[in-house]
């Protein structure tokens, strides 16, 4: 809370040690620094009450899996139990800092309601069984389906929260073992557009920039990216720069009054679903005033003329009418972007989960291409991820592309992959694009997929239009396997439930949104009979007896490290080359950024420092797509358009959203997140401090809309769409008028109903209301463009919304609700003493 000064409240006079309530102040104390200087270290640690640091027996290295930042930390262990965490001072990502979810989320691992034994459905009920019984049932069903209906009857839906070794193993067993095209991750909901936008512009996935660019940029533009809540540690970095010398100017595009918006030089709050119109106007202004780098464009791109003519009519006045943003503000934003010396842009769900997702994300790449703002410190694009290991899902081929960013339409790439796996190219399905998650569920709905294996994700809360999702999962003919930590809403609908181990209980590598690879080492035993996801996949592969073309076992590895080594062979020579990384190298050191190989033994900070390297027709991952229809471009066209493999500048015209407000549904509705929770709360709701900070769903509406309807803070309201409805208490905020916001984290596992609304339990999940519609290019579902109604159910009578006051959900009138605090249980030690730089290193 910089404005009120409480950031400093916990600091003692020396400014070295502080104890800070990190629920009341999620970002902790400031360590200001100047532009082009390294970000100072600040080590955050939180231990269980009653445990002193010197009582900790072991500190074990890991990285956070509760957001995409990849914060490196150590787990404190006492008597085989996790008792706390401490940030790793020497890691490039966080320099010792941790966010609230990192600091408190670990407690969920030891929850009493962890799954400890497999469950199978008997007579309509889930009953405990042993592993052999559960695995035999899965294997029997798999064999039966392969025999009767073929590999296309089996689908896999995985996560963005497992480890690299697990995705890779799953990708090999699904694609070359089963031979199915139906493997995707829930990364489809969070990061598919990031991947697609990079493929469209640069021919290949791979984050161009890196987090260090925050240290060097003079302008940082955040497009639909509430970084303060999704990646709180990088927001700490921005706050530290804002407090230091030569601070950056921020441009914020977000319809909510986020912390970023409050600190921005220019804040644009457009009507939902109009990002392309806004971006086209910004590009129009930059081109009109000729603030473009003609040399860069000539040397490294194709397609500029098409863009220039496409945005010629897109004046700020034109966009102002569509976006409901003042034309002068658009001009002002264009000035800031156009005058930037080093421009860094970051992009997240406000773009990715909205209408025309890929088209909009690509325009942000275009902004950098035409300004030549790539590949230099501070000049870069960060197409962010929503989940901790989404990058691994993408690169391992578990979310719809072939492993190692290979192009499924390039026979040479398929042959190369077949060689790595020692199988015939024909046994890797590549007759059509790998099936995306929304289509996997459609095939299950229509009955052609008969077995769906869901690992580490909770679609019964996270997918759009939940009544439909429940009806799909409940079908008698669909055999559903769920592999998870808890009895989630989805697990309750399963035929077999497998208890999984989680971080701290298993070893594996993970890669964050800026390509930094971290190792997470097992610190404690998993509860009961819970097993690492890798062990489950290896066991299944062994029982299915998958073979390579010479009759040897298809999967030749047996533990995390041998799986990592196998992945390295698959990644060799591709953009995500891991060949220079070993487990030993990742131990006790900072994370390493891929590509890391013989020529780049220390890893690679930035891609595209010298032109665009992966867009050549022979090496690119994709030949591009029609941004409006999703139809792929033909290889021969791509070759003639881009023979030398330059960046492709793709223009896109604005299209109105598919669902617009009308008399019955006069509001726009967007869903989103809060800093205190992750995904469907399966872990964060089981951490007392996090749960108390945001214990239940709420609905945000603007001051003017609330006044017009006679509604106030704490009133119980119902938000309805043609798909369904939910109830929550109202928070009146400075959100843009006409827009409602509902956090998507809340489901039913902690209600009487269990997995969905029922008699006594009204709708609580935001996704009761969302529409089944997705971006045609990235296939990412739209969560930010629905039309909704709002009505009063019951007056507040002294109650207030269970929404945090510390974040974008802060009430417009500060006295409308008591401030969110964590108290003694949320106190975190923050140490800025330089001698503590070594504090994170002398440990194992």
């Amino acid at each position: 809370m910089d404005e009120t000064g409480t950031d400093e409240a916990g600091m003692d006079e020396a400014g070295i040690h502080a104890s800070v309530d990190r629920i009341a102040n999620p970002w902790g104390g400031r360590t200001p620094y100047d532009r082009h200087r390294p970000w100072p270290t600040r080590v955050d640690s939180h231990l269980e009450a009653g445990v002193a640091p010197d009582q900790v027996q072991r500190w074990v290295q890991t990285a956070s899996i509760l957001h995409s930042d990849g914060d490196a930390m150590d787990v404190a262990v006492v008597d085989g139990r996790m008792v706390g965490v401490r940030g790793r001072a020497d890691d490039r990502v966080n320099r010792g800092r941790l966010g609230p979810k990192d600091l408190f989320g670990w407690q969920a691992n030891a929850s009493k309601d962890r799954l400890t034994r497999p469950l199978i459905r008997e007579g309509g009920r889930l009953v405990e069984c042993d592993w052999d019984t559960a695995m035999d049932r899965i294997v029997a069903r798999s064999r039966e389906l392969l025999e009767e209906r073929g590999p296309g009857s089996i689908g896999f839906y995985t996560s963005g929260q497992l480890y690299l070794e697990e995705y890779y193993t799953l990708a090999v067993l699904a694609r070359a073992g089963i031979g199915t095209n139906h493997l995707d991750g829930n990364t489809r909901l969070c990061t598919a557009t990031a991947a697609e936008a990079l493929k469209q512009s640069f021919g290949c996935d791979g984050q161009p920039g890196c987090y260090d660019d925050f240290d060097h940029a003079d302008v940082i533009a955040l497009f639909g990216h509430n970084i303060a809540e999704t990646q709180p540690v990088q927001w700490m970095r921005l706050l530290d720069r804002l407090a230091g010398g030569d601070p950056p100017r921020l441009v914020c595009v977000d319809p909510r009054p986020t912390r970023v918006a409050r600190r921005a030089a220019v804040h644009l709050a457009p009507r939902a679903g109009t990002n392309v119109a806004l971006l086209n106007a910004l590009l129009h202004e930059i081109i009109r005033t000729d603030r473009v780098d003609h040399e860069y464009i000539a040397a490294h791109t194709v397609g500029f003329e098409e863009l220039a003519s496409g945005v010629r009519e897109c004046t700020p006045q034109w966009a102002a009418g569509i976006c409901d943003v003042p034309a002068a503000s658009i001009g002002e934003a264009a000035d800031v972007l156009g005058d930037a010396d080093r421009l860094l842009s970051t992009v997240l769900q406000g773009v990715y989960q909205s209408h025309q997702a890929t088209a909009a994300a690509v325009q942000i790449n275009n902004l950098h291409l035409i300004r030549g703002m790539l590949g230099r410190p501070g000049a870069g694009v960060l197409q962010m991820n929503g989940q901790p290991t989404a990058q691994n899902t993408r690169e391992c081929g578990a979310d719809g592309d072939l492993p190692g960013f290979r192009n499924w339409r390039n026979d040479a790439h398929v042959a190369d992959l077949a060689k790595v796996w020692n199988v015939e190219p024909g046994s890797i399905p590549h007759h059509a694009p790998p099936t995306h998650a929304m289509q996997i569920f459609r095939y299950a709905e229509q009955g052609s997929i008969r077995m769906l294996w869901i690992s580490g994700t909770n679609p019964a809360v996270s997918l759009p239009e939940l009544s439909r999702v429940r009806s799909i999962l409940r079908q008698e003919r669909l055999f559903v396997v769920v592999q998870d930590l808890f009895r989630t809403e989805t697990a309750r609908l399963a035929d077999v439930v497998l208890p999984a181990a989680t971080w701290g209980e298993k070893t594996g590598a993970s890669t964050n949104a800026d390509r930094t690879v971290h190792l997470s080492v097992k610190a404690v035993e998993p509860p009961g009979e819970a097993r690492p996801d890798l062990d489950v996949f290896l066991d299944y592969a062994a029982r299915m007896d998958f073979r390579d073309k010479d009759g040897g076992p298809l999967i030749t590895w047996h533990d995390p490290e041998s799986a990592f080594e196998a992945w390295k062979r698959c990644s060799a020579g591709r953009p995500c080359d891991y060949t220079g990384i070993t487990y030993d190298r990742l131990r006790d050191a900072s994370g390493v950024q891929w590509p890391c190989h013989e020529q780049a033994p220390d890893g690679t900070a930035r891609l595209y420092t010298d032109g665009v390297g992966w867009a050549h027709p022979d090496v690119c991952e994709s030949y591009g797509k029609d941004l409006e229809t999703g139809a792929p471009d033909e290889p021969v066209e791509y070759r003639s358009l881009n023979p030398d493999g330059r960046a492709v500048i793709r223009a896109a015209a604005y299209l109105p959203p598919h669902e617009t407000p009308d008399v019955d549904h006069p509001f726009q509705l967007t869903t989103g997140r809060t800093v205190y929770h992750f995904h469907t709360r399966t872990k964060t709701a089981r951490a007392p401090q996090l749960n108390a900070a945001a214990p239940d769903v709420w609905v945000e509406a603007s001051v003017s809309d609330a006044a017009a309807l006679g509604l106030g803070e704490g009133d119980l309201v119902e938000v309805g769409t043609p798909r369904g409805a939910l109830r929550g208490r109202l928070r009146v905020t400075d959100i843009r008028p006409g827009l409602l916001f509902v956090p998507f984290h809340y489901g039913y596992w902690d209600t009487a109903a269990g997995y969905g609304p029922s008699g006594g339990t009204p709708g609580r999940a935001a996704n009761e209301t969302t529409v089944t519609d997705w971006d045609p290019a990235s296939k990412q579902p739209l969560f930010k463009t629905a039309a909704a109604s709002l009505r009063l159910v019951e007056r507040a009578r002294g109650r207030h919304a269970p929404a945090p006051t510390t974040t974008a959900s802060a009430p417009s009138r500060t006295d409308a609700a008591p401030p969110t605090v964590g108290g003694a249980a949320a106190l975190v030690a923050e140490t800025t003493d330089a001698s503590h730089d070594t504090g994170g290193r002398n440990i194992r």
Binding site: R442, Q446, G447, G630, H658
Partner: protein
């Protein structure tokens, strides 16, 4: 120039027909979400073509008249949508979908060939207005063709091997 007027008239009819077909397909396959949403977007392209064709024809003294192929919701569309919802869990509509996509593709190809003829006539007669019209509309027709072709390619394997 009666030949050009004839093609304008034929294409006007063809685009109106395709707009109607796309809308009907969107309704009939309401539970195939990607088909449904993209088909509605593509119908808007064809309706735009209809209006522009009528303007161009007007300037040539030919009145093509009629609506832009805009869809009027009625009993039939409601019926199509309800049928689609009732059949959501059945595999058979997959075959119908492949047939519908084939028909859409063929209609778009027919329109494309007529755009081609107009373009050639425009070149021969140095008719800038005609050329501008074709330059504006024909690329979208080609994209309609590519989309229908793509959807057939992507969906056919699963639909045909699962019945």
């Amino acid at each position: 120039m009666n030949g050009v007027n004839l093609i304008l008239r034929t294409l006007h009819h063809g685009e109106k027909h395709l707009a109607g077909q796309l809308t009907a397909v969107a309704e009939r396959h309401r539970t195939e979400h990607e088909i449904c949403h993209v088909a509605i977007d593509l119908a808007a392209w064809s309706r735009g073509h209809v209006l522009r064709l009528a303007e161009t024809a007007d300037a040539r003294g030919v009145h093509l008249g009629g609506s832009s192929g805009a869809h009027t919701a009625g009993v039939l569309s409601a019926l199509r949508e309800k049928t689609a919802e009732a059949m959501a869990h059945r595999p058979e509509p997959g075959l119908l979908l492949l047939r519908d996509l084939r028909e859409l593709h063929l209609s778009a190809v027919e329109n494309s060939l007529h755009w081609e003829m107009l373009a050639q006539a425009g070149q021969a007669g140095r008719d800038e207005r005609l050329l501008a019209l074709v330059a504006r509309c024909h690329p979208q027709t080609l994209r309609q063709m590519r989309w229908t072709n793509t959807m057939i390619r992507n969906l056919a394997p699963q639909i045909l091997t699962s019945l």
